[in-house]
């Protein structure tokens, strides 16, 4: 497979090196070449005029469903969807069957990922079976390839366990990714508010998120260990994180495109593709998320890509599984923030590439000479209708079905190998 390219005339946006200019980029043997390096003879050119050339995007929060639920997604199909969406790497959450709570499961995921279309960074469980009682073996899993630990989907109720997890994870340089949700307050199926009242659906209050976000901040402050807050959905949580950061607490946070795009009103037709946890919130929450992405309170955009089949979704709203797919829509939805002047292009690349890599400690998110050639080419003008027949993921649970989206990854390169392209040969 050819892994050397001369990418010509694109707008290179590389925040890690302070670069935003039209230039050529040379890839030799799967690595980014330095400016002094001569173009070897026979290198294939890629015409990138009118395109953005950015470090490969990393989605730090996906569910690949393998092992155990391969009818929803697997490592190969999920990473194909990632590459189609411009992602060169994904961090996969451990709530598989079995749970990734041991080096054995981690090793299996790493082995399967060898043939994947994007880099796969496994996240290990905090507790055995994510049951919230016994710590999993972080060290063994780290040696097998995990980049963080999380009981995503099963919020840790026991504060002492969370404290010990933070302390112990710091021994291995692993961040804790917190699904911050107070379970006793979270027995509903959508955001608590006037829309839930009108629909007669049980609500999940914003306080359920805020209470647990504050606990994680307090524990990070107590222990000095790093905590990363997953899928922030509320203005209350944003305020807590902003304040914590201002006093130097080692906290980072992500939100997902659906939280800065949709609000609870979208649930009105009881469409189960609008059911996820945390739920779609109010217009004020959406605005707070957008501002927090701009001002640095939120560090990353991550999709929480959560494939489910019609078995879990073609049912009554109360009974439907939580979650939507997101890998193929994240980039255009984030580009909409640029068009709305909420963020600029550089910030977009930070949110989708630079910061997720930094939080997970990955050697990614940069176009520095010598770095692996993980590169995404974006056509910010290209419009497409996201129809069911073109979904790359195995599952179709998306509220953005048949939306006309603007901006798309037209080429995704991992280690110099092209894993997705819409460009003419």
């Amino acid at each position: 497979m050819n892994v050397s390219w001369h990418i010509r005339g694109g707008r290179i946006i590389d925040p890690a090196n302070g670069i935003d200019r039209v230039a050529d980029l040379l890839v030799v043997d799967g690595r980014i070449a330095g400016p002094a390096q001569a173009v070897p003879p026979g290198v294939v050119e890629i015409d990138a005029r009118g395109l953005w050339v950015v470090p490969g995007l990393t989605d730090m929060h996906v569910h690949l469903r393998e092992p155990g639920e391969e009818y929803k997604e697997d490592i190969l199909s999920g990473t194909r969807a990632a590459a189609a969406g411009g992602f060169t790497g994904v961090a996969c959450m451990p709530n598989t069957r079995p749970v990734n709570d041991s080096a054995t499961v981690t090793a299996m995921i790493v082995a399967r990922a060898a043939a994947a279309s994007a880099r796969v960074y496994p996240v290990g469980a905090i507790s055995l079976g994510s049951e919230g009682t016994h710590l999993a073996e972080f060290g063994e899993m780290r040696d097998a390839g995990i980049v963080a630990v999380s009981d995503d989907g099963r919020p840790v109720r026991d504060s002492q366990l969370m404290r010990r997890a933070l302390e112990y994870a710091s021994d291995f340089g692993l961040p804790i990714i917190s699904h911050s949700e107070e379970a006793a307050l979270s027995t509903g199926v959508m955001h608590e508010g006037p829309v839930a009242t009108r629909l007669g659906l049980k609500g999940i209050p914003a306080a359920a998120e805020a209470i647990m976000v504050y606990r994680e901040i307090a524990l990070a402050e107590l222990t000095g260990a790093r905590v990363h807050i997953a899928h922030v959905s509320t203005a209350m949580a944003v305020d807590l994180i902003r304040t914590a950061k201002s006093r130097g607490v080692p906290v980072t946070a992500e939100s997902a495109p659906h939280y800065f795009t949709l609000i609870d009103e979208a649930v009105s037709g009881y469409d189960t593709a609008t059911k996820m946890n945390p739920p779609l919130r109010s217009a004020a929450d959406r605005e707070a998320i957008r501002q927090a992405l701009a001002d640095g309170t939120l560090d990353a955009v991550a999709t929480d890509h959560a494939p489910h089949s019609i078995l879990e979704k073609e049912v009554e709203f109360d009974l439907a599984a939580n979650g939507i797919i997101g890998l193929e829509t994240a980039l255009p939805l984030t580009l909409a923030l640029v068009r709305d002047h909420v963020i600029d292009e550089r910030r977009l690349v930070e949110l989708l590439a630079v910061n997720p890599a930094a939080i997970l400690g990955l050697a990614a998110g940069t176009l520095s000479p010598g770095a692996a050639a993980d590169i995404t080419l974006i056509d910010p003008e290209r419009r497409f209708v996201y129809t069911a027949d073109q979904i790359v993921s195995k599952s179709r649970n998306t509220p953005f079905l048949d939306w006309t989206l603007q901006g798309r990854a037209v080429l995704t390169m991992v280690g110099g190998a092209i894993r997705h392209t819409l460009l003419a040969a």
Partner: protein, 310 residues
């Protein structure tokens, strides 16, 4: 039939979809059908040869009976499916149940389900007209309509009336249908109950949230109470029914704050001595049994109207 307007609805999913004109039309139709139930032979051939399926996923005595009586008085063939007899206990999904029932070509399916939105879900899988007989905490439109009909029988107009609704608003589909229905007909709806049972943003449906029971009931034309449950799924809503009856129940004293001719209503079944003391349930102002009688007439009207539109 009673008015010249046509009825445009294939399904009856909620009061939310019904305009003021629709409601007037349904009530006029129900009014004209009410007399049938007083005849010695209580049967008209209107829906002869039509198949109506009562698909009740939740226990119900009076609503199911009311729909069945309404259907039989119009000569329709009725069939009842309830959770204990349906295949849902074998793990069949609602979508598959719906597809299978639809394959038998029923004309109307009446659904009661604990999940809000289930009737709308059903419409996507069946050819039949769907009538919502209560879905979760969402809507119970035939109850809303029979409540409107009952008040209208005692007042010249629904416009400008003060309707007090007291009790468990949060879990009540009747409250939502009544708030929407009465508001649409020009009444003013006042809500009161323990804060644990008041859902967020209920005022955005058009109701006014009161700070006290007295404020809700004072000068009311109608005092509607809703059934209370002390606890739901480990959610501690009230310390005791005894305290509820003392703090939030409609005693004769509280009722005396309402207009002297105020109507006392309850969608049933009443917890006697909790929402209402027996002397109020059975008192001269109670129209609770009129509600039941009108329920049959309203349901006959709905069956007639959705068939007329198919």
């Amino acid at each position: 039939m009673a008015t010249g307007t046509t009825f445009a609805h294939r399904h009856i999913l909620g009061m939310e979809q019904l305009s003021r004109e629709d409601i007037v039309h349904i009530l006029a139709t129900a009014d004209s059908f009410k007399e049938i139930s007083t005849r010695s032979i209580k049967k008209v051939p209107t829906l002869r040869g039509h198949t109506i399926i009562n698909l009740f996923f939740e226990p119900s005595t009076r609503t199911r009976l009311s729909f069945e009586v309404a259907a039989k008085r119009m000569s329709a063939d009725t069939f009842n499916i309830s959770p204990s007899t349906s295949s849902t206990t074998k793990g069949e999904t609602l979508a598959d149940t719906a597809r299978n029932i639809s394959a038998m070509h029923p004309d109307i399916i009446i659904i009661r389900h604990s999940c809000s939105g289930a009737p709308l879900f059903l419409t996507r899988y069946v050819q039949a007209a769907v009538i919502n007989a209560g879905d979760g905490a969402h809507e119970h439109p035939s109850q809303g309509l029979l409540d409107l009909m009952t008040v209208k029988e005692h007042r010249a107009t629904l416009s400008g009336l003060k309707i007090a609704i007291v009790g468990d608003i949060a879990h009540s589909r009747v409250a939502r249908s009544d708030i929407i229905g009465f508001t649409r007909m020009g009444s003013e709806v006042y809500i009161y109950g323990p804060a644990t049972l008041i859902p967020k943003g209920i005022d955005q449906l058009g109701a006014r949230l009161c700070a006290s029971l007295e404020e809700a009931v004072r000068d009311a034309d109608v005092v509607m109470t809703l059934r209370i449950q002390r606890e739901r799924q480990n959610d501690p809503l009230l310390p005791s029914l005894r305290e509820y009856s003392r703090q939030f129940g409609i005693s004769r004293h509280i009722l005396s704050l309402a207009r002297p001719d105020a109507l006392v209503m309850h969608p049933g079944p009443v917890n006697r001595g909790v929402e209402l003391p027996p002397e109020v349930v059975d008192g001269p102002q109670s129209v609770i049994l009129d509600q039941v009688t009108n329920g049959v007439a309203v349901r006959m009207a709905l069956l007639y109207l959705v068939m007329g539109n198919s």
